[in-house]
Symmetry: C2
Subunit: 358 residues, 2 copies
């Protein structure tokens, strides 16, 4: 029997819940009919608007129909002779090259290191495997671990002979409140480096399908020429054009999400059955006890407690004993932690059990 008071809470999709603001949505509503009836601007024009907001050189920015469009085209055009990537990672980075018949060299991140990327070991791995391309999510998805700026700089220098090194920064706005450790300026300066970013995650609009790449003007021009010239829809254009007037609100929302993630980490760490890994994204990666099956736990959380989390068994380099839990407003955390504690107990891991540490 379903409990009548069950309120569904989504801790699965990592989205900024504080943006766009109600005022921005009101504007989108006003512009909807006209926006949809007429053609949006082309890629280069919208990229120009975005570059100005982000303080980047427009010649280095390429707009895309989501970061997935960029991953698809980068693998199609630039990945030859295999791609190395730390795992677990965003699924498209392992699946896309394989679908094209490319070798994918998976470099396993280690729980005992908190899933931090050991840059020197990774560079040696790339050499040993003879990979000509590499892709790194920073912060990593699903673990949330961040490669610090100096390490990343070293990695880009060490691998500067590769055809391409892609840094997927879809979650980097949630890494630090003040100094966002983006490699965008490094990418704009080196022909072999591309930074890509989904706009859906940080701007809270997964359905809009918008993303961009930052690259050396020569690399950006190659991508711009090969991608469909009219790939940006009216809503994505409205979003980008609204950003200059709402940047302060975005900054505020971003900081709010970072506070939510810290709070989520703190609350999860109080559950003795969980190992909680350090995260610089807007989600937290946790390990559940070996006696509990992640799929059963996810299903029970949803059906009995109205809580949706991402069970990570389908991800290469992860398994059914790991969950990704998205940062949400603090007011929702009681429901989450109560449900987790109860469901874990019901599935055989009592509250006084101790997490097996990393």
């Amino acid at each position: 029997m379903k409990r009548p008071e069950l309120v569904l809470r989504d801790f699965c999709i990592p989205v900024n819940p504080y943006f766009p603001t109600a005022g921005m949505f009101a504007k989108f509503h006003e512009q909807l009919e006209t926006g949809l009836k007429y053609y949006p601007a082309d890629n280069a024009e919208i990229a120009h608007v975005l570059a100005e907001v982000l303080g980047l050189d427009p010649a280095s920015v390429v707009m895309a129909n989501g970061s997935t469009e960029l991953i698809t085209w980068i693998c199609e055009l630039l990945v030859r002779g295999g791609l190395a990537t730390p795992v677990p990672t965003f699924g498209r980075w392992t699946d896309q090259p394989r679908e094209l018949g490319q070798a994918v060299h998976e470099f396993p991140l280690r729980a005992e290191d908190g899933f931090r990327l050991a840059v020197d070991r990774f560079v040696r791995f790339v050499r040993r495997r003879g990979a000509a391309a590499a892709a790194i999510c920073n912060p990593n998805n699903p673990t949330g671990s961040l490669v610090p700026r100096e390490d990343l700089q070293r990695l880009l220098e060490e691998l500067s002979d590769l055809d391409v090194v892609v840094i997927d920064e879809s979650f980097i706005d949630f890494a630090e409140p003040d100094d966002i450790p983006s490699a965008a300026s490094a990418a704009a300066a080196r022909p072999g480096v591309i930074v890509i970013k989904s706009l859906g995650k940080n701007f809270g609009l997964h359905g809009v399908r918008a993303g961009y790449a930052v690259a050396h003007p020569r690399t950006a021009e190659l991508l711009r020429r090969r991608l469909p010239p009219w790939n940006i829809n009216a809503l994505a254009e409205m979003l980008v054009r609204a950003l200059p007037d709402h940047w302060a609100e975005y900054e505020q929302s971003r900081r709010h999400v970072i506070r939510d993630r810290l709070c989520l980490h703190h609350r999860l760490a109080r559950l003795p059955q969980l190992v909680v890994f350090p995260s610089k994204a807007n989600f937290v990666y946790v390990r559940i006890p070996q006696v509990v099956d992640g799929v059963q736990l996810r299903n029970r959380l949803l059906t009995e407690y109205g809580i949706l989390v991402r069970e990570c068994g389908s991800k290469s380099g992860s398994d059914r004993h790991h969950l990704r839990i998205a940062a949400r407003p603090e007011t929702q955390l009681d429901q989450l932690t109560t449900a987790l504690a109860a469901a874990l107990e019901e599935l055989g891991s009592p509250r006084d059990a101790k997490a097996v540490g990393a």
Copy 2:
């Protein structure tokens, strides 16, 4: 000095003005926040919904971020050894292969034939040039001429050894009120034929970026595997999911547009300075007198009379003496024809001049 009563009228963008209905827009508004906050379904799922509405085999349908995404990928993956296309045509069919370094073999359509495609001559042209691919807009854009079903069937048979023959049917819903002469079922049956279609034109939403391909399941699978797997935005998904409940209204709107095109043709044909070509699309292609420059005419129509038309000088196979005029509600035609007659006279072609016929 600008006339205060100037009402701007867009006869440039060929869009269905009667769809989506106000009721559908009301639903889009209701769904906007939720639709944009969450991920849309993937390509295959949305293609399935569309295929059911259109009475097609879902295995033959591939959704795209506008027909341009399909043109880009078809040229990238399937066009090797040159593409033949009748001109004038939609610009991407001449520009895209060229941008990839492919030869484009332009087959000039003749004004004296009313820009009808002479299928046998085109087939001989393809052979003579040794092209391995062909693309035909049907109805043609910008001329509006239609290849009749039997001719098209013959063309597909004659060219069945080519790598690919693409029929771009973006405007075909406006060809006939009852029996739409689509080649979709022929495409689903032959691995070398692809029908593509923009959804923006017929469903009145250029900003939504949606289109689809119909092809043999094997060809469809190839495209589906190579295109980005999540390429459909939330608004395009809302549109597709709304279609089953609003199909009767769409049918009505489509017939209304056909009546508007007939009416537009009739009214334009009464201007002695114009040669008006037969059209089966939602626009009409006209020739203006040699003494008048099309760019000057377009500019004068816009600044003095508030009328926007497409001057076709930039299109290969057309020139500055041709305009494409979109079908609009009949109530707007007085403003159009009055402006055209006056502007032509002001630019040196008096009302009693006679058009130089085809």
